[in-house]
Symmetry: C2
Subunit: 412 residues, 2 copies
């Protein structure tokens, strides 16, 4: 019988695991921009041209020389001579001289000599003369060539998870295709003799499989391709054979249930039988999620998660998400906004020997954001359903009511 003797703190467990793994990022593929949302850039994108590619008007109006119109106002309108018009999508053919103006549409190209645009609303046109009733300033109502992106700018870094605005910039710079990381495939195994699929009624002592569904959702959101396996019985040869197939075919293996210490610790035994390095960490000083197994077969990471679905979700955040991030080469999982500051809605005390991952509900009140720990035991899945985020309290740590804490947002 194996027992948890020295439990590592989560940060130490993660460090030891990552040192043992030496994970490489996935290979890359080239895809169309219309498929690129949320994919991870595999290489820096440097602008090969200016954006916009020419000085553009941002309004409908008249391109002018600002120097001609420094004192124009409603009370003292300044007349300028209309010498032509720029059409949308065409080169500006005119050259503007002193006292002259050219009509330009929104998005139209500024003629040579013009350095500002006066909005149509501030003008009146009569007999080829435009009365300007508003002072013009250089650069006003103009988006200058290269003002958004300049040739040579590092526009997006490798490791960026592509957002809607990024797709726009890539399109604007002519990147109709983009090189992204392959998505890791993640085998999801849910084990235990007590587990039945959700479409079956559990008999006495049985419960329905929940981990396959929570983990599938988490993997998908994190950018992996979840591959759900059928429920595994607590039968060593079956678990061994299934793990062997999963290791051969997938980039990361998650197996939940069966990892607690006991005479029938089938999962741990099966993992060890796959060959070195095997189990690297067995048991972590964390609540919930103590019976976690961090392992590998060759270079393939295998993570044994608790059977309790709420605990498995916490362990996903702490140990699985960083592995997925490394496989994807993600540069910024801790982007500002992924964590927020809030005040503790009540005092929180962590147990003496375990880092506590407390599920909280956020509530904005009187100009402050409050984090309310959800009631009930740490293994309740409904606490994850209701949670907006998680507050990490170090082992033996205490947080006073009203104290400011960092909340990692989850669920959205």
């Amino acid at each position: 019988m194996r027992v948890f003797t020295t439990l590592l703190a989560p940060a130490d467990a993660r460090a030891r695991y990552q040192a043992a793994l030496s994970l490489a990022a996935m290979g890359s593929e080239t895809i169309g921009l219309d498929e690129a949302l949320d994919r991870v850039l595999a290489a820096d994108v440097v602008a090969a041209e200016d954006l916009p590619p020419f000085d553009r008007s941002t309004v409908d109006g008249y391109a002018v020389r600002a120097a001609d119109l420094e004192n124009a106002s409603d009370a003292a309108p300044a007349p300028v001579r209309l010498i032509g018009e720029v059409r949308t999508g065409e080169a500006a053919a005119h050259q503007i001289g002193p006292g002259e103006a050219v009509r330009v549409p929104t998005g139209g190209m500024l003629p040579t000599g013009a350095d500002g645009v006066v909005m149509q609303e501030h003008t009146a046109l009569a007999d080829g003369t435009v009365e300007i009733r508003h002072r013009a300033r250089p650069g006003e109502n103009v988006l200058g060539r290269g003002e958004d992106v300049r040739t040579g700018d590092l526009v997006l870094r490798a490791g960026r998870r592509l957002r809607p605005a990024d797709l726009g910039i890539l399109a604007g710079l002519g990147h109709a295709r983009v090189v992204v990381r392959l998505r890791p495939t993640v085998a999801i195994l849910s084990g235990g003799d007590e587990i039945v699929p959700p479409d079956r009624s559990p008999g006495p002592g049985q419960v329905r499989d929940m981990n396959t569904f929570t983990l599938t959702g988490l993997v998908r959101r994190a950018g992996g391709i979840p591959v759900a396996f059928p429920i595994l019985p607590d039968h060593l040869p079956t678990v061994q054979e299934t793990l062997r197939r999963a290791v051969a075919a997938h980039d990361l293996i998650l197996i939940s249930g069966g990892s607690s210490v006991g005479e029938r610790d089938v999962v741990a035994d099966a993992i060890q039988s796959l060959g070195p390095p095997g189990i690297i960490v067995h048991g972590v000083a964390i609540r919930p999620g103590k019976p976690t197994v961090l392992a590998a077969s060759g270079s393939r990471p295998i993570i044994g998660l608790p059977g309790n679905p709420a605990s498995a979700m916490v362990i996903f955040e702490v140990f699985v998400r960083p592995i997925l991030g490394a496989l994807l080469g993600v540069s910024e999982d801790d982007a500002p906004g992924g964590r927020v500051l809030a005040r503790a809605g009540r005092a929180i005390a962590a147990p003496a020997e375990r880092e506590d991952h407390v599920r909280v509900r956020l509530d904005a009140r009187e100009g402050d954001l409050w984090a309310h720990p959800l009631p009930g035991k740490s293994g309740l899945l409904t606490s994850m359903v209701r949670a907006d985020g998680i507050v990490v309290v170090p082992a033996a740590g205490r947080i006073a009511e009203g104290e400011t804490v960092e909340v990692r947002l989850v669920g959205r």
Copy 2:
């Protein structure tokens, strides 16, 4: 020539538009749980059974009567008689009497008479007697029947966008299939004679299409099905015919570009030609995004967005997202955590007549979250690339450096 005479404030424009539209939520469909992530529940889910369905041990150990072991400790171990074992996935056959214990695995069913479990680590077994070295409390290391969900509980409300934890609860309660809202299809039209696709080199006065890609990404993330149309020239019959096809086939129509005021306002003219109610709001007191058109053909919403992609993205947040939310019947787009509080990194002043939507970068420093307005003009797409969120400043409003502001998170 039409001019913007009275521009409505964004909230007033939205109210007028929504009153004119009277949108109904989409119909529903029944799908498997494995496809249900991020879909919107069409009906409340009420638990038809308890979860867990029986009292379960949360550890490997011995099920006991807590009353027998109130004073057990390392110094004073209490002996109890081992009368049997519960196996994972099987009914607990024993009945525990005074001074008795039954071995239980993690997740195993508690025998009748037991009300707590002592962890194996705190015990020693010899000759059919278990020495208990730790005080036992009622309910300790037990997840009671119905402690997570009780029969009759409202587990998830209609309008909930399903998260990973929700899928777990649904699976646990036997909902292998779930009734969700149909996803609205959203026609995305990008117009303008100056626009070329991203795989073409723009000629003089031309720029590449960016809006199709930013809007496609935003629609997809918001739960709609984007349908990108080919680039539209500024040619009234073509725009009319394309809009007519889009209105017939899709739930929401977005058309960007060409909506500014001017002699060649092809988009507005084409929308009006589709029949009542036509244009409901033309121009909004917002920066960026003034030349916005809120319209409908019959009950079909049509939104004309600015050609500038950064402006179009802001208008998406203000006007399109609420419409998509109404079509999806989403109940909680403003979930806590979607907005955070931060301190302004510098003073911000809005223009006199327009609500300002200021893009900010978030930065956690010295225990505070700071919102730094991104430099440059409001139409820069790179400001959306760099933004973590948006701060809304009312027309003519001023925010002092260090003042607390609400930031709506974007991009993640």
